[in-house]
Symmetry: C2
Subunit: 142 residues, 2 copies
DNA sequence: TCAACAGTTTAGAATAATTATAATATATAA
DNA sequence: TTATATATTATAATTATTCTAAACTGTTGA
């Protein structure tokens, strides 16, 4: 998925026009070794730091949503006040460090398969994900 | 926890002044058999339906947060765009129906104990919760 | 190559959810 | 019952996100 390279082709393949802005954003998001967890705000900051030119906030929102809709990004809700995106789009689990408010990916094999016994009639399960909240001291654990 | 009754005493016990508004809100939230999942908006609507007098939105926010801080409510993040509260404050799991956007509680025994193998050094685990997303058809499963 | 069109970007306005403010009101302790 | 601390309220402010409409750009095909 969009790793290391030629984002122009990658974007085109999925029907997203490879505009200058989209390509730049892809470079920032996907030209890295490990998963990147970010908020729109983080991303906007990174863009203005690493790039010379500015990209409008509206475009950042649009692009992130376009990438999300094409399956290149995944949205994760932890806090009501922040929306995180994750470049790791597989079904996987997370640790959330309540001290630093950081998200940490958790490999499938680091949490034993979750056995769900309940069934909602007429519905099928789309995903089963675990959130492990950690902190160094006695925090309020909401 | 604040079930069935005398909310005046209950509130006082935890250092929350039992004002008229807080007692009313407690009655709406906790005078019920099953768990109540709601957004601030849901609650505001319910208040204006079931009560004659109005309670200001600011008060509703303040009260919900006060109740949350005292451990009477739990906040749950599913969508970035909605913040749910839950009158069931125990560590427990949820089903989320993506068709209806409804939260459904899941008893501890309906999901087998989750075995977390990973450790974050220097941190202790506060909670381990599972979110099972369900839908009737092939939905986008973000 | 280039014109035409559809899709995209942009600044700024609009909206929605939440929080802050400051005046008024209320609960509680003495 | 009075003084004081705390709560409520309407409204303003703030924040995150989405909308809008004009200007711009990528792509297609003549």
């Amino acid at each position: 998925m969009l790793k290391n390279m030629n984002f122009i082709e990658k974007l085109r393949e999925t029907g997203l026009r490879p505009t200058k802005q989209r390509v730049k954003i892809c470079e920032i998001l996907f030209n890295r070794d490990k998963t990147f967890h970010f908020t729109i705000n983080d991303l906007a900051k990174k863009i203005s730091e690493e790039l010379n030119e500015k990209i409008s906030l509206a475009t950042i929102y649009n692009t992130v949503h376009a990438l999300k809709n094409k399956g290149y990004l995944k949205e994760i809700s932890i806090n009501s006040d922040k929306s995180y995106f994750d470049t790791n789009t597989s079904v996987h689990h997370h640790f959330y460090d309540e001290d630093t408010q950081q998200l940490i990916d958790c490999d499938e094999n680091e949490i034993e398969t979750v056995n769900v016994k309940k069934n909602i009639t007429g519905k099928k399960i789309n995903s089963v994900e675990v959130l492990v909240r950690v902190a160094s001291n006695n925090h309020n654990q909401n």
